[in-house]
Symmetry: D3
Subunit: 160 residues, 6 copies
């Protein structure tokens, strides 16, 4: 474990980490989010999916767009040129949930964890929005980094 927060300078002020001198390497991150709901709510989403799939299609697009907005949302994130964004949404009828996995890639000087986490979070929020008229008690959880590749810190994986 590092012993200090990289975004706080010696005077205790927030700053963007200077990555000017870091090597350009291929980087990738996978993150997840999960939204739990009433079984009837999930059934509406899933039935919709069999026909037109709009709730999940809209959430997927929202997640992809949010990854691109990450530096605008998270104050100390660097602007990045993502070369790949993928958002997958899987209904989990056993747990009355939709599980979201977002994966981002680029060749750059800094990692893309925040982009993946932002994509997963906003996809989950979009599902909430589209279903809130029938189920205000939905809960978003387990928003976390699953895996990270590339960069000086190398490969990192969440505990199973």
């Amino acid at each position: 474990m590092a012993d200090s927060l990289t975004h706080i300078d010696a005077k205790g002020n927030a700053q963007m980490v200077d990555v000017t001198a870091k090597a350009v390497t291929e980087r990738e991150a996978r993150a997840q989010a999960c939204i739990r709901m009433q079984p009837e709510t999930l059934a509406m989403i899933v039935n919709g999916e069999h026909k037109k799939g709009d709730v999940l299609a809209v959430a997927r697009i929202a997640g992809i767009q949010a990854a691109k907005k990450c530096a605008d949302l998270i104050p100390l994130c660097h602007p990045l040129m993502l070369t790949s964004i993928k958002v997958e949404l899987t209904p989990d009828t056993e747990n009355n949930a939709v599980v979201i996995e977002a994966r981002c890639k680029l060749a750059g000087q800094t990692g893309v964890e925040m982009e993946a986490l932002t994509a997963a979070s906003v996809a989950a929020l979009t599902i909430y929005d589209m279903c809130k008229a029938v189920d205000k008690g939905m809960v978003i959880g387990e928003v976390k980094l699953l895996e990270k590749l590339g960069g000086r810190s190398g490969h990192w994986q969440a505990d199973a």
Copy 2:
């Protein structure tokens, strides 16, 4: 429970709900998010807070700014003119977490749940960003609506 998703029209296509004819009333929503971390990570945040408080100050600003961007992030949300946004972040040393509560208000034709949920989520993501160099395993969870006032559906409160 309503029996259909309001954002899906009769053909199964996503649409923005038409609120043109709805009354302008005062509306309010409170939402929360929570981010769990290593005790050492929380200690760094809290010690920072005693001096300059930058992690929590930055997350608070990010949450406030995100509430204003809600309609840009969530595809079927209406553009709104929020009249109040509050984001409070409370370190919870017992559970090694920071608890975030966001509250939004306006006089308008549609509710502000998504604005409050977005503010809480982005504040949590910002904490992740600022602490990820020391703790990649942080988990955001319990992102949920706490309370909603105003509008036709009246007062709603999450189960305790």
Copy 3:
């Protein structure tokens, strides 16, 4: 026909029209765009639609989001709070085209023609983007206002 451009002041400089004193009335506008393509391209979209409909679903969302960004795109447009945005996309196999109709509404001090035209245009551009790998020669055309209701100038309809 009015005899001067409202966005140019007496000195010839561009300006935003001052609508402070205009009445708040319900306003609505309908606009269309059309994108012509190879029959094989349209077949791919339509076949996709029967299964998951993603090209049209993505274009619909892009159009809705673009309507909200109108004041950011068109320099002299007023910021507005749209209360309804609808984007419909209809494959026209006879003319090898997709026809897009966008409709926007609000209660406000200025019309929503630009919002509807922007929504239709961006939906068409999104179809181009998603199909350009198979058909670079697609042409977007007939982007025009169909109808306008509300405001001092009253009802306006395009010639058939």
Copy 4:
């Protein structure tokens, strides 16, 4: 002609094309749009141009700014760092139209067709906005790619 849409994955879901492994090469695209209007409307624009040129100047800036917003407007576009954007607007008194040509360039991993098409479209929409008080029947058309250079697919030109 390729035999599938690159933005739809094997399951039929929309995705951003992964360009991480593509070479960085110099790329360029030229696109056009055209807006037809009443002769009196064009005369107002042209007369203005002789003095201060504001309608065309504003439309040019709007087109340039829109090229930079392309990835925010078109859901599956990659964020790009354009190194050149040019927008030229030419009054065509014979056809009572303004013809817009936009040209974008960068050294990158993906083409800039959408940026050029977006610039041309938004410049046309801006002309509509500034002249709509005198001529609501203007029609935007022939929005199309003219030429594309660089990248694996090489040189492409629209049929004359």
Copy 5:
């Protein structure tokens, strides 16, 4: 003089001022900025102005667009629906400067000083950008509120 900062709550945390209960009244603000430069630089702008006026035309548009982005730039500003934005740029050959005056209006619950100040500042920055190849030593100054009308605090005017 009030005795505390309205954007800091009792705990010392930044917050957006709650204006939900404030009356909707007509509000207006005028602000200025000034950019001083070499006489040769001003001559280039002025000569350009006599022909096509592009430097001042671009700066005017940038200022108008910036007023609309104010709530996105200034963290604790409320989102507003401006009903009028005017930006005037006057070359001042005696002082080798361009003087910018921005005026914003709306009927709303909060003042528009920040919108006017932001418009004036960004117009000045745009002039810097367009002339920096010939004159890096330009200085922007005297960015200040000139006048404010409407709202509870009434009429306010800067000392001459």
Copy 6:
């Protein structure tokens, strides 16, 4: 001194400078802004700073975020991927002012002066916003480039 404005082409029209062929080099710029106020206003900020520092913390974040938005604010700026943004705010009790210095860096094809100037300006505007309830007469001034490194034009420094 160069003898023409680089953003104006031979026909007098505004354009973005084409930097496609320029070398990628490390570039850096430092800019400043200054906001003068009543001594009581500065005392409120400074006292706040000793406890929680929110005015300066919020202004710092606003400045950092604004640097990333530069190409969206300044019409002819290129989109850039900044690798470092630093904003420092120093209370100057002798002159009743807060002095802001912003520093931006990247490895790219064009300089980052506008990003640094924008960061400094928006940080100053944010201080104005947070203190305007107690002091409307604050004046922002001396917004200027301090130093510029890298690129063909090499090292440039403002006169002391």
